[in-house]
């Protein structure tokens, strides 16, 4: 690049920098309150007292940490699967209703609330239903003599699976509905006019078209469950069966020094898992975005 070329390039960079000045507040907020904490976590996971050290990362392979990781994966995987299948079914029900119908809008608003804004509330919803004094528990006890709440299973992994599914299904509806809506009626009619039975249409056209979106949505559900904290924190007051709760105990523990370091390592583990899943999600979804627009 000659002298003239370099000057032009510098001039353009300067021009862009000046034009971008009004964007400073936005970048500042994002940088300070998102980027910096993330980098802090990543750096603190591998730097102990200013020196590079893998000690904190090694703690991730301790029995407690691995057990928590395993349970988190189990919880996220099972609820992602359940949520994906049942959610796709519910989404199909919703899409069969006209776009402006009140039922549809009510269901979607409810899904929005339960999926994204209900963390703590859902824990209490299930406490009120099948907790020790839950409405259903008492009713069943009175009429059928069983003890639903039993050993307090609601406060352990099985309980978490149930409650998580309660918000995974609505999330699936929200995320998967656009794909269902993108399935044009012309394709069904074209297939039918070419001789396809309903079964053949689903097998040859609808399923291949929906599969990437379905899998992508399931991945999203996995990431969502893995990163979720509020519901578990509200339900489980003692013990740390899953990774988020392990982070809680690491942060709030006053007993052992270096627990804060453990929190950083766990948080890094979380970033990695979620990032990997989200990258896979993006790759899958980008393929179908063109088809189902």
């Amino acid at each position: 690049m000659g002298e003239g070329g370099r000057l032009i390039l510098l001039g353009r960079i300067r021009g862009r920098a000046i034009a971008a000045l009004p964007l400073l507040p936005f970048f500042a907020v994002v940088a300070i309150f998102l980027i910096v904490p993330t980098i802090t976590v990543i750096v603190s996971a591998v730097f102990d007292e200013g020196r590079f050290s893998l000690a904190r990362l090694q703690a991730l392979f301790s029995e407690t940490a691995l057990s928590a990781l395993g349970k988190s994966v189990l919880l996220s995987g099972s609820t992602a699967l359940l949520g994906a299948i049942l959610g796709a079914l519910l989404a199909w029900l919703v899409v069969s209703r006209p776009a402006e119908s009140l039922v549809r809008r009510t269901v979607l608003s409810l899904c929005s609330v339960l999926a994204q804004f209900g963390g703590v509330a859902l824990a209490f919803a299930f406490l009120a239903t099948i907790g020790l004094n839950g409405v259903l528990t008492l009713w069943v006890q009175e009429h059928l003599g069983w003890n639903l709440a039993g050993s307090g299973w609601l406060y352990g992994l099985p309980g978490l699976i149930l409650v998580y599914t309660y918000f995974q299904i609505p999330l699936m509806v929200i995320v998967f509905l656009p794909a269902l809506e993108g399935l044009r009626e012309q394709w069904r009619e074209a297939a039918v006019s070419l001789g396809a039975s309903t079964w053949q249409y689903w097998r040859e056209v609808a399923v291949p078209l929906l599969t990437p979106a379905f899998l992508g949505s399931a991945l999203l559900l996995f990431a969502n469950a893995f990163a979720a904290y509020a519901t578990a924190a509200a339900l489980v007051s003692q013990g740390s069966p899953i990774v988020p709760l392990l982070i809680r105990s690491a942060l709030t523990s006053e007993v052992v020094l270096g627990q804060a370091g453990f929190a950083y390592a766990l948080a890094l583990e979380m970033i990695v898992v979620v990032a990997v899943v989200m990258v896979a999600y993006n790759l899958l979804v980008r393929r179908t975005a063109r088809w189902l627009r």
Binding site: Q186, W187, E189, A190, A191, V192, S193, L194, G195, L292
Partner: protein
């Protein structure tokens, strides 16, 4: 090569709540014929097509194909090929796989399917694009693939639902001629729905003009244009001037001349004659009572707008050579060519 079959729609009615989309439509199509259904939106042409395809159910009436009553036969068993307005190609399949689809549904072997599909894509001029996906093809190319896909199964009837409406003007003309060429080669009975009269007149053997769920006229294009059966057809097809005229014993008197009337006109009294621009004569006349208002040059022809003595403006179509010399304000005499007119 397929020889076409005859199609009969008999007294079809389709009611949605309070709307009568079709009102006793009867339409008989000869084997191998290319019929265009023409009309404004809401006239029922698409409804009729969809009922024929089996994608919609008539409230009453029957549909017969090749002498067989198919009214209650489900759409996927009707052996018809359909081309939709747009976006009907399966996006996850290549052009070749799209064309093979109908053959796959019929259980043909893979080798067979590929041969036939390649043949069809060749017929529509897309041999170079076999392995492309819909998103990689232009609108015109997509519709060609759709046509090949519909014809691959050797349907007894080919149905086209406004296949050119979503395309650019130039592509539209090319593809319309292409469709006709292919249809003549293959010989399938074809029903072509459109709201564009130029399209309908250009390609069809017969044109069915529809309005409000009813068939107004079914005739060859020239007849629909020159001998409209009803005022609606006369006004919908081609341009019209509305000129007051007096009718006595089969003759319409207007602009100082007399011409025979068309069947369907009023039998006597005062009415309005529907006069096409190309049937208007304009001659320079210093003593003329009409004046030229403006001249629009359109290449081979020109439109001359003339104000009559009573202030009404008439639109005359002349060759540009004949229109040369007419300046705004020039006095002229307006007349009518010897042609039959509809007076309503």
């Amino acid at each position: 090569m397929t020889t076409g079959v005859g199609v009969e729609l008999n007294d079809l009615t389709r009611v949605y709540g309070t709307v009568r989309a079709l009102d006793g439509l009867t339409l008989h199509i000869e084997p191998g014929e290319f019929v265009a259904l023409l009309g404004p939106s809401g006239c029922g042409k698409t409804t009729a097509l969809r009922i024929l395809a089996g994608l919609d159910e008539a409230t009453s009436g029957t549909v017969s194909v090749g002498g067989r009553d198919v009214t209650s036969v489900p759409a996927n068993k009707r052996d018809m090929g359909m081309v939709f307005q747009a976006y009907s190609l399966f996006p996850h399949l290549t052009a070749l796989e799209n064309v093979e689809f109908g053959l796959k549904m019929r259980g043909r072997a893979k080798g067979d399917r590929t041969t036939r599909a390649t043949e069809m894509l060749d017929l529509v001029g897309l041999s170079a694009h076999l392995n492309k996906y819909a998103t990689e093809l232009s609108g015109g190319q997509q519709q060609r693939v759709a046509l090949a896909r519909a014809l691959a199964i050797q349907p007894s009837v080919l149905l086209l639902d406004e296949p050119l409406s979503a395309l650019d003007a130039k592509v539209r003309t090319q593809l319309r001629d292409e469709i006709r060429r292919v249809q003549l080669e293959v010989g399938t009975t074809t029903v072509f729905v459109t709201h564009d009269q130029e399209e309908a007149l250009a390609v069809a053997d017969r044109v069915g003009v529809m309005s409000q769920g009813r068939l107004e006229q079914l005739a060859p294009p020239a007849e629909v244009y020159a001998d409209p059966a009803t005022p609606f057809v006369a006004e919908f097809v081609g341009l019209n001037n509305k000129v007051p005229a007096e009718v006595t014993s089969g003759q319409a008197h207007l602009l100082g001349m007399s011409v025979p009337t068309l069947a369907g006109s009023i039998s006597s009294g005062a009415g309005t004659a529907l006069l096409r621009p190309e049937s208007v004569t304009v001659t320079a006349d210093p003593a003329g009572t009409s004046t030229v208002k403006s001249v629009a040059f359109l290449g081979p022809i020109s439109r001359v707008y003339v104000a009559l003595a009573d202030g009404a403006v008439i639109d005359a179509q002349l060759t540009s050579a004949a229109a040369r010399g007419f300046e705004p304000g020039a006095p002229v005499t307006v007349g009518v060519e010897q042609t039959r007119l509809l007076v309503v």
